[in-house]
């Protein structure tokens, strides 16, 4: 017993040294992307990166819980809303990377910028026998009755962005659309994965508001799934990269942001089928010129997020 305690005690004393790194990055998935970015950056700069990999919610929860003794230098989230919140609270370091000049104005601010973006799309199972949808509104037709799933805006940041964008563009009509979808038997089973799985498994036929790069990646792996970006317009869910003001390695942090936004870093982003933030890096997927994007005020929409989620629930819950 005593020797066991001694062993643990030694581990406690010894271990912190093993985790000393020059830069701490907390990143939302996909894991191969954050891994590739960290590796590429270290190869280029010689700066060692310690990477905590999770999803956006856990990354932010860890950041919040650590506030009395902050550990993180750079945060990459899949939710633009996180950057808006942290920026408003004054917790982000002001930095505009020289590499950001090729990023559209709507995807960068004085404190954070997009690493890349997902576009929200319709994804349908090609074995389901459903007609190919073209517009968001098509899914209210009888052909799609009881075949539709949608990620819950209360659990998925990208789904929330889609609702915000459609409401910003169409106002009352957007709410009518969600009501009509609910009447057409749409289920809202949880976050993105929970909406996509039943469609892949054939229990349902089509996702309203799929994260396009995930669906495209599955299609590339051989799943019978097709991704449609509605020609009437879709919404981007940008993935912010930002430096914590509390960072003690600000130089290294700036260099890391530069690297991620450089052509080389953006190629890693493109390799995961995510839309690169830079317009001068092309991806093996519908790019900046192929998508019609609904522009709206992300910051204003974030201020009304709670109301939007409630409205959505009221309109879709029977």
């Amino acid at each position: 017993m005593k020797s066991l305690i001694a062993a643990v005690a030694t581990a406690v004393v010894m271990a912190p040294a093993a985790y000393a790194a020059d830069l701490v990055v907390y990143s939302a998935g996909p894991k191969p992307l954050s891994g590739a970015l960290a590796k590429g950056f270290t190869a280029k700069s010689g700066i060692k990166v310690s990477l905590f990999q999770s999803n956006s919610g856990k990354v932010m929860a860890r950041y919040q819980a650590e506030k009395s003794n902050p550990q993180v230098d750079v945060i990459i989230s899949a939710s633009w809303g996180h950057a808006i919140t942290l920026d408003k609270a004054g917790e982000l370091l002001a930095y505009v990377s020289p590499e950001a000049s090729k990023i559209p104005a709507s995807l960068k601010t004085g404190t954070y910028a997009a690493q890349g973006a997902a576009a929200l799309a319709i994804a349908y199972n090609t074995k389901s026998g459903l007609p190919a949808p073209k517009q968001w509104g098509d899914l209210t037709k009888a052909a799609y009755k009881n075949q539709i799933t949608m990620p819950d805006p209360a659990k998925s940041g990208s789904a929330l962005t889609l609702v915000q964008g459609l409401v910003a563009q169409d106002g009352k009509k957007a709410w009518e659309l969600f009501g009509a979808l609910a009447n057409n038997g749409m289920i809202v089973p949880g976050a993105n994965r929970a909406a996509l799985n039943p469609v892949l498994q054939g229990a349902k036929g089509v996702v309203f508001g799929a994260v396009d790069y995930i669906a495209l990646g599955l299609k590339a792996k051989g799943e019978s799934i097709e991704v449609v970006h509605p020609s009437g317009g879709t919404v981007l869910a940008p993935r912010p990269i930002m430096i914590a003001k509390s960072s003690e390695n600000q130089d290294a942090a700036r260099k890391f942001v530069d690297y991620v936004l450089s052509r080389e870093g953006q190629k890693h982003v493109a390799a995961r089928l995510i839309l690169p933030a830079r317009t001068d890096v092309s991806a093996d997927r519908p790019g900046w010129n192929d998508l019609k994007i609904i522009d709206f005020d992300y910051v204003a929409a974030a201020g009304e997020a709670a109301e939007t989620k409630k409205m959505f629930a009221d309109n879709t819950r029977k």
Partner: protein, 553 residues
């Protein structure tokens, strides 16, 4: 020695369990405690407690927990009785089978049931019908959760039945008692403390369980408190103080459940003189034996084989949309896990190491705590007893936040945070309730005269625990150790929050596969983990069986 033992139990429990739970409570009361500030006290309490639909969620949580506890007991008690009373061949193997549910993470288990029973699921592909209507309903959730949790009651009560032996029943039968009468009037009351104790833990585990209500319940708008808590963790905005406030509700429910359990178990204190752990019942007629094997086989088939087969088939499917066809089955997922890097093996190794350490430490701590609570009874030890069940009432995510708040402070000269030791601490905290409950229940059955005999002969408390009680508690302590081991190898929620950068466990590895990539890769990794830790448990069971026959012969 007694004050020292009490001190040891108290300090261990307070450091491992008390600190993180107190941190959560403080966070609920002082929403800026994470910045070490007491500003805006109590400001988040009311907005969260007046949340619309919170009452519905609370009622749902309670009815779910009651139903799952009841159904689990109904499945487990007859099995446990038969296991103890009838000489089943290969009893250890049946037991090993019932440990498998602990190895299956609840979210994987629920996904498997969905894959099996939903529209176009495996059952429909094979037999032409689906049970989606049943699965996505209250009875469906209750069934899935009960099938996952009943082994806890099974192991605890089977041990209790075994300790009683058959003599009491024989006496009753000599005086004309029928089999049902003997079971209800003699055996059931005698195992009541063990039954209650394991029911309490099932109740509290159900209240805290997230995976199944989230995956199945969200399909028909069934919200429980834990799903409401997780909404605050899941995307944006993250609301840690709000989640802590909702966790308080769970702590309060756990408190009342614990109180009820105390009251009831005081009524049914039993002490069985002269224990007969080894002798098992009378030989059975072939007809009865067949019936017993049929019942065990059915339970094992539904609770273990069906989900496990689904996971296995999924693990071999190339694409989800391809269905179960020959051309869609291959080893690609399994190969995919292991060929890219050594990460998968490293993750398995990390998980196994942590799980072994967690099992050993929790059982040792539980032995001391159980002795303190049962034998040195006082108001203070009742508090310790309650403390020991708390971690199971709080969602793993909240415990993880509590641990970060506790250990990520500059006041500690050295801290386990950002080292793998924080994971061990988290597992100890989350797993302690299992061995504490199981061992406390077993200890309540042991007569105090055993201790007294030892004291008269000059033994100290340590000798009594180690030389007298531990050997008698051996089987249950081992079962508890296996359960802790099994659950630790797949613990997800706290691991994913607390793992230091670069450290992966099996569960976090599966999660990363799952989150972005394919469900089937996740299933494949899960299968590997189940097979690896399952084999270790089976090996342990065999060693145990051998050492026991060795010592009695």
């Amino acid at each position: 020695m007694r004050p020292a033992l009490f001190g040891l139990s108290a300090v261990t429990l307070i450091v491992i369990v008390g600190f993180p739970v107190v941190a959560i409570v403080l966070f609920a009361l002082f929403p800026h405690i994470n910045e070490l500030s007491f500003r805006e006290p109590f400001s988040v309490l009311l907005p969260n407690l007046t949340r619309p639909r919170l009452i519905d969620a609370t009622i749902n949580s309670l009815s779910l927990s009651f139903a799952v506890t009841l159904v689990s007991a109904l499945i487990a008690v007859p099995l446990a009785y038969m296991r103890a009373k009838f000489p089943l061949r290969f009893g250890q193997i049946w037991d090993a089978g019932f440990l498998v549910p602990f190895l299956i993470p609840p979210y994987i288990g629920s996904l498997a049931w969905m894959q099996l029973l939903q529209k176009n699921g495996f059952v429909e592909q094979a037999l032409g019908f689906n049970l989606a209507g049943f699965l996505f309903s209250f009875p469906g959730i209750v069934t899935v959760m009960s099938l996952h949790l009943f082994p806890l009651i099974y192991f605890t009560t089977a041990n209790a039945f075994a300790i009683i032996g058959t003599r009491y029943g024989d006496v009753a039968r000599v005086f004309g008692g029928g089999p049902v009468q003997v079971f209800i009037r003699i055996y059931l009351p005698m195992v009541f403390p063990a039954l209650l104790s394991s029911c309490l833990i099932v109740f509290i585990l159900t209240i805290e369980e997230f995976g199944t209500p989230e995956i199945l319940g969200s399909r028909f708008g069934y919200e429980v408190i834990v799903t409401a808590i997780h909404e605050k963790f899941s995307d944006w905005p993250i609301d840690l103080p709000g989640a802590s406030v909702l966790s308080l509700i769970l702590i309060v429910i756990a408190f009342f459940a614990f109180q009820a359990h105390q009251r009831l178990s005081d009524k049914f204190q039993t002490a069985i003189e002269s224990q007969t752990v080894d002798k098992r019942g009378q030989p059975l007629s072939p007809g009865y034996l067949f019936a017993v094997i049929l019942i065990f086989g059915t339970a094992l088939f539904v609770a273990v084989v069906m989900p496990l087969a689904t996971i296995t088939i999924s693990a071999f499917m190339d694409t989800l949309s391809g269905g179960v066809t020959a051309s869609n089955l291959s080893f690609n997922n399994l190969i995919g896990i292991f060929d890219t890097s050594s990460e998968a093996w490293q993750a398995i190794l990390t998980s196994l190491t942590l799980a072994v350490l967690a099992a050993v430490f929790t059982v040792l701590i539980a032995l001391v705590v159980a002795f303190t609570v049962v034998r040195l009874r006082s108001a203070a030890t009742v508090f310790l007893d309650f403390l020991s069940i708390l971690p199971n009432s709080v969602p793993g995510m909240a415990v993880a936040v509590g641990l970060i708040l506790t250990w990520n402070q500059t006041i500690w000269p050295i801290s386990p945070y950002n080292t793998p030791v924080i994971l061990l601490l988290a597992y100890l905290c989350l797993m302690l309730p299992y061995p504490v409950r199981m061992i406390t229940a077993a200890l309540r059955q042991l007569p105090k005269s055993l201790d007294d005999a030892a004291y008269i002969s000059g033994a100290g408390e340590i000798t009594v625990i180690w030389k007298v009680l531990a050997p008698l508690l051996g089987p249950i302590a081992l079962a508890a150790g296996f359960i802790v081991f099994a659950i630790s190898t797949r613990e997800l929620v706290s691991s994913i929050m607390l793992a230091p950068p670069g450290v992966e466990t099996v569960a976090t590895f599966v999660f990363h596969q799952f989150d972005q990539g394919s469900v089937n890769t996740g299933m494949a990794m899960s299968l590997v983990a189940i097979v690896v830790s399952g084999s270790i448990i089976a090996l342990g069971q065999r060693l145990q069986g051998r050492s026991r026959t060795g010592s009695t012969s």
